[in-house]
C-alpha cells in the first residue's frame, strides 16, 4: 500500500509542477488544471484502448497545451479576467472531454489491455512513475535556466521588464500556461494508466491536490528561490500528501474525509512554513556542525 501511495505521489508530482508553474512562476491563478487533468486521462484511455499507451501520453501533452492556450487566448486577446478565463475553459472542456471519449463517462481497462505500467508489478510501476517525476523535474530545472525559461519566469515576476527588452510578455505567459497544462494532462494520463480506469470526474479536486503538494513542498525550500529545491520540494510534498491520504484511508476507511484533511494539512503546513521552524532547525544544525 505504501508503494502504491508513493507511486501515485510521483504521478501527482507532475500535477504539482504544472500548478506551481502557473500559480507561482507565472503568477496566474489558472483553474484550467481540473479540465486538463481529465483531458489527459481521456486522450490516454482512448489511445490505450487502441493499444497505443505511449502515444496516449504524448497526445495528452498536446491536449493539455491546447487547453492552456485557450485560457491564455481568452485572457490576453479577449481581455477576460484570469480566473474567469480558466473557469470558462474548465466548463467548456467538460464537454470536450466527453467528446474525446465518445460521451462515455467512464471506462475500465480489460486485463489484456496494455498500459505503460506492467500489471501486478508494483515495484516496476513505482520506478516508472519515479522516472517520470525525476526526468520532468530535471527537465524543468534545466529549462528554467535557458533563455526561454528565464523569460517565462521574468514574465511572472515583472511583466514590464520583459516588454522593456522588446519581447511580448503575452507570448511567454501563453507558453508557460501551455507547458503547465501539458504537464497536468500528462499527470492525468499517467494516473489513468496506473489506475486502469477512466472517469470523467477525475479532475474534480485536483487543484487542491496540486496546491497541497506545493504548500507541503515549500517547507523544504527553506524560503530560498532555488529551482532545484523547489522541484525537490514539490516531489516530496506530493509523496507526503499521498502518505497522509493513505493514513486517512487506513484509519477512517472513508476517502470522503480527505477533503477536510487536505484543508487542515494545507493550513498546518502554511503555519509551519511561515513560522520558519524548519529553517531555524536547519540553521541550528549548521551551527552545531
Amino acid at each position: 500500500m505504501i508503494l502504491n501511495a508513493l507511486t501515485l505521489g510521483f504521478i501527482f508530482a507532475l500535477l504539482g509542477f504544472g500548478i506551481f508553474l502557473s500559480f507561482k512562476i507565472l503568477n496566474f491563478t489558472d483553474l484550467t488544471a481540473e479540465a486538463s487533468f481529465t483531458l489527459g486521462a481521456a486522450i490516454s484511455v482512448m489511445l490505450v484502448n487502441l493499444g497505443l499507451p505511449e502515444v496516449g501520453l504524448l497526445l495528452s501533452l498536446f491536449g493539455g497545451a491546447l487547453s492552456g492556450f485557450i485560457t491564455a487566448f481568452l485572457h490576453q486577446r479577449l481581455g477576460i479576467d484570469k480566473v474567469l478565463s480558466g473557469i470558462l475553459t474548465l466548463t467548456a472542456f467538460y464537454t470536450v472531454n466527453l467528446l474525446v471519449t465518445n460521451f462515455s463517462p467512464n471506462f475500465s481497462l480489460s486485463k489484456e489491455t496494455r498500459t505503460i505500467f506492467p500489471r501486478n508489478e508494483d515495484l516496476m510501476a513505482f520506478f516508472i512513475a519515479m522516472g517520470f517525476a525525476l526526468i520532468v523535474g530535471a527537465f524543468l530545472v534545466f529549462f528554467f535556466r535557458t533563455r526561454l525559461g528565464i523569460s517565462i519566469r521574468a514574465s511572472g515576476d515583472n511583466e514590464g521588464v520583459i516588454e522593456a527588452h522588446g519581447k511580448s510578455a503575452d507570448f511567454y505567459q501563453c507558453f508557460g500556461l501551455m507547458l503547465s497544462n501539458a504537464l497536468i494532462a500528462l499527470s492525468g494520463a499517467l494516473f489513468m494508466q496506473y489506475q486502469r480506469y477512466y472517469d470523467s470526474t477525475f479532475g474534480t479536486g485536483m487543484m487542491i491536490v496540486g496546491v497541497s503538494c506545493i504548500v507541503i513542498g515549500e517547507i523544504f525550500t527553506f524560503k530560498r528561490h532555488s529551482l532545484l529545491l523547489m522541484v525537490i520540494g514539490i516531489i516530496l510534498g506530493s509523496l507526503i500528501y499521498r502518505l497522509i491520504y493513505l493514513l486517512v484511508i487506513t484509519y477512517t476507511g472513508q476517502p470522503q474525509y480527505m477533503k477536510l484533511v487536505s484543508a487542515l494539512a494545507i493550513i498546518a503546513f502554511i503555519v509551519i512554513s511561515k513560522s520558519g521552524l524548519l529553517l531555524r532547525l536547519s540553521k541550528r544544525r549548521e551551527r552545531h556542525a
Binding site: R147, I150, R153, A154, D157, A164, H165, K167, S168
Partner: protein, 244 residues
C-alpha cells in the same frame, strides 16, 4: 530624431468629465540631446513618457528616427527605447538573480559566456560591486545597485532613446549622486542616444541637461537650450520655472 507632433492625451473621469493631460504638444529632440523635463505633479511629464511607449491612447504623431510609432505595440517600441523608472524594482525581475536579469537582454546570436563576461567587465567599471553579486536576487540588492542594474539593462541594447522617469528620486542623496554620475557617463558613451529625463532637482537638471523644458498644464511653457541654458543659474531657472 524624436519628433512629437500635435500630441494630445485625454483622460476621462466618469461620463461627462474629461481632462486634457497633454494638449497639442510639439517637440523635436535631436540625436545626442539630453533633454530635462521639469514641471509640477500632474503637468503631463509622465503621460508624455507613457504616450511615447504606447501605454496610453493618444492623438497626434510620434516618430522615432523617421519611423511612426503610432501603430506599434509597447514591446515593439521598446526595442529602440530604454526606460528607467523611479522604483528601482521596476527595471528588473526582482526574484531573478542579476545574471538571469542580464540574460534577458542577451542579444540574438551573441554567445552567453562572452556576453556575461562583457557585462561583468562593464558593471565592474560602475564601482558598485554588482559584478560580485551575479548570483544575488535583485530584491536583495541596495537601491543604488538595483537602479544601476536598471540603467545597464535599459542601455545595453544601445537604444536610440533613453527615458529616465525620476530615476534617482527613490534613492538616498549619496546613491542618487552616484546613479546620476553613472547616467551621465553612460550617456556620454552613447553620443548618438537621445535622453529625456524627468526630474524635480533643479541643480541636477542644470548640471546634466543640454536642454531644459518646463511643462505646465500639458503644454511646454519654457524651452531653454544652447547659450541660453549655459548662462542659466539655479536662481534664474527657479524664477523662470515659477513664472512659466
Amino acid at each position: 530624431m524624436l519628433r512629437i507632433k500635435d500630441l494630445s492625451v485625454t483622460f476621462f473621469k466618469g461620463e461627462a468629465m474629461e481632462k486634457n493631460v497633454l494638449q497639442d504638444l510639439n517637440l523635436e529632440i535631436d540625436e545626442g540631446e539630453f533633454l530635462v523635463v521639469l514641471g509640477a505633479n500632474g503637468s503631463g511629464k509622465s503621460t508624455l513618457f507613457n504616450a511615447i511607449l504606447g501605454y496610453v491612447p493618444y492623438q497626434g504623431d510620434i516618430e522615432l528616427d523617421g519611423r511612426n510609432l503610432n501603430k506599434q505595440k509597447p514591446y515593439k517600441r521598446l526595442k529602440d527605447i530604454g526606460i528607467v523608472y523611479q522604483d528601482p524594482l521596476r527595471g528588473s525581475a526582482p526574484h531573478l538573480n542579476v545574471e538571469e536579469n542580464l540574460l534577458l537582454a542577451l542579444p540574438k546570436g551573441r554567445k552567453r559566456n562572452e556576453y556575461l563576461a562583457f557585462c561583468k567587465n562593464e558593471l565592474s567599471s560602475y564601482g558598485l560591486g554588482l559584478e560580485d553579486n551575479f548570483k544575488s536576487e535583485v530584491h536583495n540588492l541596495s537601491g543604488g545597485m538595483r537602479q544601476a542594474l536598471s540603467l545597464f539593462l535599459a542601455t545595453v541594447k544601445e537604444p536610440s532613446l533613453l527615458l529616465l522617469d525620476e530615476h534617482t528620486a527613490a534613492l538616498d542623496p549619496r546613491a542618487s549622486e552616484v546613479v546620476m554620475e553613472l547616467t551621465d557617463r553612460i550617456i556620454k558613451n552613447n553620443p548618438k542616444m537621445m535622453t529625456l529625463m524627468i526630474i524635480h532637482n533643479l541643480d541636477l537638471a542644470l548640471r546634466y541637461g543640454t536642454r531644459l523644458v518646463v511643462f505646465q498644464d500639458g503644454k511646454v511653457s519654457l524651452d531653454v537650450k544652447g547659450d541660453e541654458k549655459k548662462n542659466l543659474t539655479k536662481e534664474g531657472l527657479a524664477k523662470l520655472y515659477e513664472a512659466s
